[in-house]
Structures are given as C-alpha cells and as structure tokens.
C-alpha cells in the first residue's frame, strides 16, 4: 500500500493497517494454510495406514500379525514428540543412503565420514540444484510422513476395534447368503464398521489438530514459527519496532485452536447422527423413533 511507504511517519490506525499487512505478517496468515494443508493431507494417509495396520493385526499370517501389533503398541508406548524428532532425520538419511547405493555404485568412499553424512550429488534429496520450493515441499512431506506414522498406529487400533464390534449376526447372515469371506469383509464388515469407528476417529482428529504445533519442531515454518518471529521484540532496525508481543500472538494461536476443535466437534456430532440412521445401535434406534 502506498501509505505504508514510510512506516516511521505512521501513527495509530494507519500504523496498524500497515503493520498487519507487511510481507512478514502475510506469511503468518499463509502459515495457517500450511497447518490446514497438513491436516487435510495427513488425514487420508492416516486412514490408509490405519486400515493397513488393522488388516495386519487381523491377519492369520503370523509375521504380519506381529508386525501390526509391534507397530501399534510401540507408537503408543513412546511420546509422539520423540517420533517427530527422529522419523524425519532417519527417513532423510535412509532415502539418501538408498539413492546413493543405486545411483552412484562406483563411489567407494564411505557414506559416514566422521560426522559427515556424505552421499553423491545425484543421490541428494532433493537435488542441490532444486529450487527452494522443492526443498520446502520435501521437508513438509517428511513431516507429513512422521505424523502419518504416529497417528496411523492410533487409527489402526480404532479400526481394528471397530471391525471386531460389527455384530456377529450380520456376518453370519451374509455367510448364509453364500458370500465368500472376502465378500463378507468388503461388503458387510467394512461398510458397517464406520459407525463404530467414528467416536475413535473423531477423537483422533482432535488429537491430530492439537499435535500440529509440533510442526514447528520439524523445521516447517508454521504458525508457531511466525508467531515467535513476529512477536519477538523489534528494535528500530526494523520498520515496525515494538516490544515483546509474543503473548498476544500466542493468544491468537490459542483462539485458533479452540475454534478448530469446537468446530470439529460440531461437525462430528452431525456426521454421527447421519451415520447412525437406521443402524442397530442405541443411537440409531432413538433416531428411528424420532423420525417414525
């Protein structure tokens, strides 16, 4: 804006208008999008991983069964923050190690040289020549995977329980109709289980929302990063000097999260009412009485 050309002359309302529209401030606003994007992208991955984990735990093939059990129990026995610190670094080094072995088989020097982790240029992830946005997307993807691994284990547990909660009678009826076990699983058990999984999944979604500030620890420039950066005291070397305002910025974050969880709860109440329509559960029966 034109009036913001010389911030030192601004006062009162105009100062605020200009301050709240600086490039840096806009990056803060945009970072809310980063958080929402993480949520939107993680949720489906979590569901897929959770489904796979639940299938593994149901599997009669023992190693797969054990794998499912170890995965879900290990993740739940360890604080999520440790996974968030460990998984991205381990994944990054793992990927580069594999790429190095495939792309540069002739390089004889060891990868770990003292403290350096040295792979050939072609094996770097992303390539050193890639533009900045590729690096940011890559970092964001690693964060997403870390989130998915942790929350996938919780989802696996919820879905596993939900599958077991589908009434036996329904499955037996399906078998009596001559369905194969495969058909029973996909046509009866899976569609029916969602109603039982919903409370657990909605709870999981709430947890996921509340875990997003940890993105900051993974080096993603999220709302916590910008709140700290913008809120810190600014000397007159900056265009808009101000004292330490971090408490206000974090107040904004608090309100954002309260709104997110409050809104989500409303939505889930609605979905649950929809889903339990005509179901052989207490909620469904009550619903039927009201509509009948």
């Amino acid at each position: 804006m034109e009036m913001c050309a010389d911030p030192s002359t601004l006062e009162g309302f105009n100062w605020w208008i200009c301050y709240l529209t600086t490039g840096k401030q806009q990056m803060f606003y945009a970072s809310f999008g980063t958080v929402l994007a993480l949520l939107a992208l993680t949720a489906p991955v979590v569901l897929v991983l959770g489904f796979a984990g639940a299938m593994a735990r149901r599997s009669r093939f023992l190693p797969l069964n054990w794998l499912g059990a170890i995965y879900t129990n290990a993740v739940r026995g360890i604080p999520d923050i440790i996974f968030f610190l460990f998984v991205p670094i381990a994944m990054d080094q793992g990927i580069e190690y594999l790429r190095h072995k495939i792309k540069c088989p002739d390089v004889t020097e060891p990868i770990r040289q003292g403290n350096d982790f040295v792979v050939c240029a072609a094996a770097k992830m992303p390539l050193g020549t890639s533009p900045q946005w590729v690096h940011e997307v890559y970092g964001f993807t690693l964060a997403l995977v870390a989130f998915a691994i942790v929350f996938g284990a919780f989802a696996a547990n919820t879905l596993y329980g939900a599958m077991k909660a589908v009434p036996r009678a329904q499955l037996e009826t399906a078998e009596a109709y001559g369905m194969t076990p495969r058909q029973v699983f996909w046509r009866i058990e899976v569609p029916q289980m969602w109603v039982y999984a919903l409370p657990g999944l909605s709870n999981l979604w709430m947890i996921l929302i509340k875990a997003t500030p940890l993105l900051f620890l993974l080096g993603v420039e999220d709302i916590v990063y910008w709140a700290k950066e913008l809120g810190g005291a600014k000397t007159s070397r900056f265009d808009y000097p101000h004292p330490d305002w971090r408490v206000y910025y974090f107040g904004v974050l608090l309100i954002f999260y309260l709104l997110m969880t409050w809104g989500s709860e409303k939505v889930f109440t609605r979905i649950s009412r929809r889903l339990s329509h005509g179901q052989a559960t207490l909620g469904g029966a009550a619903d039927a009485q009201v509509t009948a």
Binding site: L85, N203, I207, K210, V247, L254
Partner: protein, 281 residues
C-alpha cells in the same frame, strides 16, 4: 579422560538435579554417558507426572462434580475450564503460560515489597519445577474431569437406590457410594490419561521453560546428544526404550489399582483396561 561406566553413573546419575559433574560430556561421548544422562533426566519426567496426577486427581473430581451440577454458577466455569484445556494444544499452553508467568512480576505484584516471600514465589513460576507442573496439573484436571464426569453419569441407578435404602445422604453418600463407583467406571480411561500425561512431560523443556544449569528432562539430554554426536540413531532409541518401560510400569501399577476397585464385582462385568488413546492431548 575416559571414565568407566560406574564413574559415569557417579558423576552424572543425578546430573539432572544439579548434583555431580558440572559440565556435560562434550567429546568422546560413550553409550554409557547417553544411558546415564538420559536416565537421569527421566527423574524430571517422573516428578512432573507424579505431581500433576496426584494433584490433578482431586481437582478433576471437583471439576466433574461442577460440570454435573444443576447450578449453572458451578457447571459453566467447569465446562469452560474443560473446553479451554482440552480444546487447545498443550504445546501452546506451555508457551502461553510461560509468557504470562514471566509477565506477572512486571504487572506489579512485587510492588508490595513488604512481602518478600510472595515476590520470590512469583519468580518460581517461571521455573519448570513449579510453572510447568502447574500447567500439567490444570491440563490433566481438565482431561480427567471430563473422564470422571462421563463416569459420574453412568453410575448405576441401583447403587444410588441402595444408598438411599441405607439412609445415606449428602457427603456420606458421595464418599461411600458415588465416588468409588465413579472411580471404578473411569479407571480404564484414567489409566490412558496417566500414560499420556507421562508422555506429555517430554514437552516441558521443549516449549517455553528454559533449562537451568543444563538440568533438564530425558528429552533435553537425548536431543543434546543427538546434536553433539550428529547421530539420531542412538539417543532417541534409548529414550524411547525408557519411555516404553515406564509406560509398562504405569499399566502394571494402575492394573493393580483396578483390581482393587473391582474386587467386589462379578468377574463377567469387570471393566477391562484397553490401551486406547481416548484422551490424549
């Protein structure tokens, strides 16, 4: 320069409390160093969890009763309290609490210079041992309060009628009948809450509260080593193993309490503990 592992335990076993060797190992970091210091930091995690759970348990009972109260003057604040602390990330709560605790003396409580003790106390709020414990207490009170509230609503009618038949009323009825039933019903969920409260203690020195004299919790030392050795594949698995062991200990301890709470109940109806993330933060 290199120490035996016994010497390491002597120098660093209580380092997280400020006892022993002043300087942390910087070069030639051994596996033993990592095990000992991370284990030493675990003292803090256990301290935070024990205090938060012990105090939070009682506040949670009050919060649950408040929320269940027909009087809106009691239920509205209880609901608001639960909403704020369950609806926002603990990470943000730590940040904000620390910023507010830091501001407190500036706002002017220490103007009354006559009360020197009070001035000193507000200073303590900015330290993890008090400030972070308060945040954890409030946080677990909200989560546990919601669990207890749910349990309170499902106390069997028969129990209440039996109490009435015995002529019990008021506090006696609560103390002898409602409260034990509530605890019994809430215990499986409360066990989960205890586990996740313990896990949440790892956030203390990561969000807001600074480490004094390089005395921190297990994660503080684990990330110290990861930064010094540039190798995440040693210190993080070590701290993970410690946490898994502690989680198993909590499950055992709470399982024992669960058996006591349920000892009068017929086997078929006993509430079983299921490891579920029902009330994680």
């Amino acid at each position: 320069m290199s120490m035996t592992c016994i010497e390491t335990i002597q120098s660093y076993g209580l380092r997280s409390l400020g006892i022993g060797e002043r300087l942390l190992p910087k070069t030639d970091i051994t596996l033993c160093d990592q095990f000992v210091l991370i284990g030493s930091g675990l003292i803090w995690n256990i301290y935070f969890a024990v205090f938060a759970l012990a105090v939070g348990f009682w506040i949670a009972t009050l919060v649950a009763l408040g929320k269940a109260s027909p009087n809106p003057l009691l239920s509205a604040p209880a609901k608001a309290f639960i909403f704020v602390f369950r609806g926002s990330p603990l990470f943000i709560q730590f940040f904000l609490a620390y910023e507010i605790f830091v501001l407190i003396p500036k706002v002017g409580i220490d103007i009354n210079l006559g009360f020197t003790t009070i001035t000193a106390e507000t200073r303590w709020l900015t330290k993890a041992w008090l400030g972070a414990t308060i945040v954890l207490i409030l946080n677990t009170s909200a989560y546990t309060g919601e669990i207890f509230y749910g349990a309170l609503r499902s106390v069997p009618k028969g129990d209440m009628e039996a109490a009435d038949a015995f002529g019990m009323s008021g506090f006696r009825k609560f103390r002898r009948i409602i409260w034990p039933s509530m605890l019994r019903l809430a215990w499986p969920s409360y066990t989960n809450e205890a586990i996740f409260m313990f896990h949440a203690t790892a956030l203390v020195f990561f969000s807001g509260f600074p480490a004094w004299r390089q005395s921190g919790d297990a994660l503080y030392y684990a990330s110290y080593f990861a930064d010094k050795t540039f190798n995440p594949f040693v210190s993080y698995p070590i701290i993970a193993a410690y946490f898994v062991l502690c989680t198993l200990a909590i499950i055992t301890l709470f399982g024992w309490a669960n058996r006591r709470l349920n000892r009068h109940i017929p086997v078929a109806e006993k509430a079983k503990f299921r490891f579920k993330p029902q009330f994680i933060r």
